[in-house]
Every structure is written in C-alpha cells, then in structure tokens.
Subunit: 337 residues, 2 copies
DNA sequence: AGTTTCAGCACAACCCTTTGTGCAAAGGTA
DNA sequence: TACCTTTGCACAAAGGGTTGTGCTGAAACT
C-alpha cells in the first residue's frame, strides 16, 4: 500500500477545481479569490504538499544539481572541501553529485560524461594527477556550463578557479626552517607537470635564494606523491655525504612518507633533522613530535568554489576569475630547536 | 550561444518523422523498419543524444536518487562508507545525495524532510548520537520507502541494518592484551545510551571474565567521546594507586585521546602501558609505536548498506535483515611486549 | 478485381507544473 | 436596456519521454 507523492491534480480533484487554480492559489496569484486561495493553501498544508522537483526541473530546464569530481572523496582534504561546497549548495537549494576520478584521466573523463548526461547544471572539480590535456572539458566550456576548478587547476584563462598560495606556503616553511637555525634545507618534490607542484618547488627555491643559502640540487629530490616513493626519496637524502638538517614535503602524503623514513633511519626530530609539510591539525598533532605544517583552508576552498560556481551560473558571460586563498603555517615541535 | 540539450523532438524534426518513431527506433522496436532504425540510431550517435533523466523520472516516477545521512561526512570512517555506497549506487545507475546531521537530532530530522521533498527513492543513514526517538523515520516506514541504517542503528525489527561485531572487537583487544602478558587491563567507555558503546563495554567485560581477571570497576572509566574527555579519563586511570598496564579506547577519538594523555604522562608504550583501540590503517601507522587497532571494514559497510537498500527497493515486502560484519584486530607495536 | 492483412509510421495521452489565453458571470456605465 | 469592464476560474500548451491506438498504403489473399 505504497502511498505515492501527491500532486496538484490530487488537490484539484479533492477541491473540485482545476489544476491551474490550485497552482495559482498556492502562489497567491491575484486572479484567485481570497477564499479559494485560503481553502487551497489549507488543504495543501494539511496534506503536506510539495511540488515535484522533477516536473519543475523539466519545466525550468534546471536540475538543481552540481557535479563534483575529486580524485578521491575519502581523503580529509577533499571531503572537507566537498563539505564546504555542499554547505553553500544547500543554502541555494542545490544538490551535489560526487564522483571520484581515482586520479585517473580515463575515469575523470567518464565522470564528466556521466554528469553531463545527468544534466547537472555545471561541474566543480579538482583535476586528476594524470590530466594533462582537457578535451573532456570542452563540452562544458563550449556550452558555457559553469565550471570551477580548485586545487589542481588549469585553463585559468577560460575557467574560474580556487587555489591556495602554494608558492608562499613552501616559502614560509623554508624561511621558518632558516629562522630556526637550519641551514641544509631539503625539499621532496613531486610530479612536475602539476602546477601546484611547480609552485611549491618555486616557493622553496625562492626562500633559499632570499636567505642566501647555496642552491644545492641534491637537496631537491622528486617522488611520485605516494608515501613509499616519498620515503625512498627521503632515504636518498639521508644517504648524502652531507645530509640535510631540515626537510619539507611537497604534499600531505609526501610529508608523512618522509617522516616515516626518518623514523626508520633512527634520527631524532627536530634535533638531528626538522620536518615540515602539509597536514591538517588532526594529523599534525597525532605524531610526536607534533608536525609543523601548512594548514589549508579546505572548507573555505569549497565555499569559494561554490560561490564562483553560482556567480557563473547567474552571469555566464563574466570573465573567469581566480581566487587565491592564503595558507597558514602552524609551527609545532618538529621544527623547533 | 548556449546550446541546449537536444531532445527526441530535435532528432525527429531533423529526420522529418514523428517523435514516437524516433523513440521506438532507438529501442529497436519491431514496428520500425530496419532502414529507419538505422538512420535514427546513426543520427542519435552522431549528435550524441542521451535521454533527459528528468523526463524519464517524471514518467517512471523514480528519481534514481538515494539520500544518505551521516553525522559528519569529513571523518574518514563515514566518507569511506559513503564511498562504498556510491560505488554500488553507481553500478546500478543511481546517484546519492549526501546530507550531514552534525550529530544533531534536529538537523537529522530536517535532512530526512528535505530528502523526502527531493523525492529520493529511499534513505541510507547512520543515526546522530542525539537520536533516541524516531518520529522522523515514520514517513519512510509508513510509505514503505527503502530505509537502511548502518553503524548507529535502531528499530531493527522494521528496518534493515548493517553493523559490525562491536562486542567481539573489544573482546578481541582485551584477549590480545592478556595473551601479551598484560594483566591490568582498562577500558575507556563512552556515552552509555549508544548501543554501540554498550556492546563494546560488554565485550571488554566478557573477555575479562573469560580469562579470569578480577572485574575491577576502577579500570572502567567513561568519557563523552571527545579527545579531551578521553584524555582526562586516561589521566584518571594513571593516577590510580595501581594504574593499568593496558588500555583500550571505546572509539577512534577516545583511543587517540588516551594516547595523547599517556604521552604527556611520559610513559613508554608498550613497555609501561599498552594501547589499543579503533583506527584505520593510515592513522594507526602514523603514530609511534604503531597502534594496535580494530579495523572496520568501512567500504564494505557502505557496500552492504547499498546492497540491502536495493534489495528492499526491489522487494519492499521482505522482512528487514541485519548484516553483521566482522572487524579485524591488527596487532601493532603499541601492544607487543 | 475486391477484400484482407500487416507493415510502418503518426497521433494522443500521460507523468507534473507553470503560465498565457479564453470565457462566463457579475458588476458598472451610458 | 444594451454594452463594456472586471472578476474568477477553466482550458491548453509546453517541457521530454514512453506507449497504446489509429491510420494509410501496399502486398497477399480469394
């Protein structure tokens, strides 16, 4: 005995008036007499009527849905951003549909296609690490569907985006190391085709130059952004004839990978070597000593991305903009001599 | 020059046939001649036609959407479960709409109402910690909409649910402590109105009795499930005339709270005191020594919940079932003498 | 050749809502 | 009284898709 959702038709037949009368009465249309309006609204409230969103969507040609694509939705970084997006979307009566690209270009492409088929009104996404070309974004751009990129961005001349000040982040860390007296500062970098990685690497070199330290290439190692790879890169650093006394990871994963390698190497932090990188408060305070880290305003990233999305939705012809959010360096035990 | 999605009507007018012909041709209906079918399908492929889901939804009276309510979507535990739900939903062509109750009964109630207005076909949820009555679930049950609860469940005689073997989890931990030679085993419990907490507490006592240790009330302390509160509870334990040599936290948060208190107290793990609790691999291996922990099959919880959901969707009259998943004790450094 | 049969397509209704237009009854004015 | 305006509602179309039924012309039958 499954009760179906009730429609205007049900209300209309119960009141023995036409559907259009009911519809107008619910909107206080002047064409409808006050008595009728009252009667209709009373019944609608009693029966707990709500308009069918599908019918509305069909009529208005809008689904009230935003597609969100992230490399992975389990990581706190992304889930927190999603939470920020959802917060704004909810306020505006929109829903989000989350898809994971699992850092695969192929999957990302499928996600975009799927979401377009679902008739989302636009997409907010962070690119997969494999994504170097953007043919799958063409349909969005050509059809002027709102598209907002965050964290891992591209095509910034055509697409609005939200990023953090990556260069400044690593610069802050390196300067912090220097101020604490560390002089052999190393950096574990990542896949260099990513804009974010380039920026962070630049920030590192900028600080090195700024304080007048020698630009030693051997203190700049690369990894593929996995914990294991970062750990190996760290071990490479430790085997140097003159190993670094401070190290900064290019990402959350790289930082903790380096941390593990250092522990395995039996070195004491922060005396023999200082560590800093990217981590949220919870993770930074879980390890001993607590990790000096760059805190990303994840919720705000999501909020801004959603804000830009609605801006474009309302004004598709505006020029794309880029919002740069500032990160925060939180010094903790791992780098305080 | 916003190109709209194209419809059957567009295809029909381009081929100068009726809409119904196009519709049938796309489905290989025998009424349509092979040549016409070929022609239509060719054009549809060329133009990249996909049916409008709103129109289909309106027609079939199904939205292909599942509402998902969690206390918080940022925590890995829940985001991983959501990921499992999404995985199954995607396979079946369904989308999920995620709402957060923020552990508030009021918000949870609003979430349910909102989702029902959106015409989701059912809801998969974990109850907020405030939820003790279930008037907001009545509409779901009365209208026989699929409802599946996980982790924090209730009304198991009317609603399908997925839980883990909580009692067994803590029992395993306590037995593991005993086998490692620990004899003064403590437990940091939580808000006792939660079924989950009761079960875990029971598992602890069960193991204590099983191995014949004295049932010492002072080794059983309570906290309100925050890190700080758990840390305070831990400190209380450490101040005992005969402090425990092993401690188990009732939850992820409680476990790490206890860990921090022990560190602050300057005790060495696992020699002076062993620690174990609930944590995923990433967090367990982040701390030193690595934390012995109960691993929850979060992805599977989501998968099972979704499976039960579709079972009920297809067969609403079946009796509710409860799936109990087993947890896994992963011994690590924090409890190995 | 006249009738039947069937292939092959068009028409119309339905799902639910909004909204422009039509229309009848009531009121007002000359 | 005859005409015009206004009130208050009904009708219909549109949005995109499916599907039962109606219609037309040609092939196959007697």
């Amino acid at each position: 005995m499954k009760k179906k959702h009730l429609s205007l038709k049900d209300l209309a037949s119960e009141l023995k008036v036409s559907i259009s009368t009911v519809s107008r009465a619910l909107k206080n249309h002047p064409d409808i007499s006050p008595e009728m309006t009252k009667k209709v609204q009373a019944l609608a409230r009693k029966r707990n009527y709500t308009p069918n969103p599908l019918a509305m969507g069909l009529l208005r040609q809008q689904t009230k849905m935003i597609g969100v694509i992230v490399p992975d939705m389990v990581t706190q970084f992304f889930s927190s951003i999603i939470s920020g997006i959802e917060h704004v979307a909810k306020q505006r009566g929109y829903y989000i549909i989350i898809s994971s690209s699992y850092d695969s270009f192929q999957k990302e492409r499928e996600c975009v296609e799927n979401l377009l088929q679902t008739r989302v009104e636009g997409i907010i996404m962070s690119l997969s690490s494999e994504t170097k070309n953007f043919p799958h974004l063409r349909p969005l751009i050509d059809r002027e569907l709102p598209l907002v990129l965050f964290d891992r961005v591209a095509l910034t001349d055509k697409v609005s985006s939200v990023v953090v000040n990556d260069r400044e982040s690593t610069r802050k860390i390196a300067l912090h190391f220097y101020n604490q007296g560390y002089r052999r500062i190393a950096f574990i970098s990542g896949a260099s085709h990513l804009q974010m990685v380039k920026e962070r690497a630049n920030g590192y070199w900028e600080a090195i130059r700024e304080v007048g330290l020698p630009e030693k290439k051997e203190y700049f190692v690369e990894c593929n952004m996995t914990q294991q790879s970062a750990a190996q890169a760290m071990m490479k650093l430790l085997r140097l004839p003159e190993p670094p006394d401070a190290v900064c990871g290019v990402s959350h994963t790289a930082t903790f990978g380096a941390l593990k390698a250092i522990r395995n190497g039996g070195l004491t932090i922060p005396n023999e070597i200082a560590v800093a990188g990217f981590a949220d408060q919870f993770h930074a305070e879980l390890v001993t000593p607590n990790l000096t880290s760059i805190h990303h305003p994840t919720f705000e990233i999501g909020r801004e991305a959603a804000r830009l999305f609605f801006e474009r939705l309302e004004n598709p012809s505006e020029m794309p903009v880029q919002v740069v959010l500032n990160t925060q360096l939180v010094p903790r035990g791992s780098s305080l001599k």
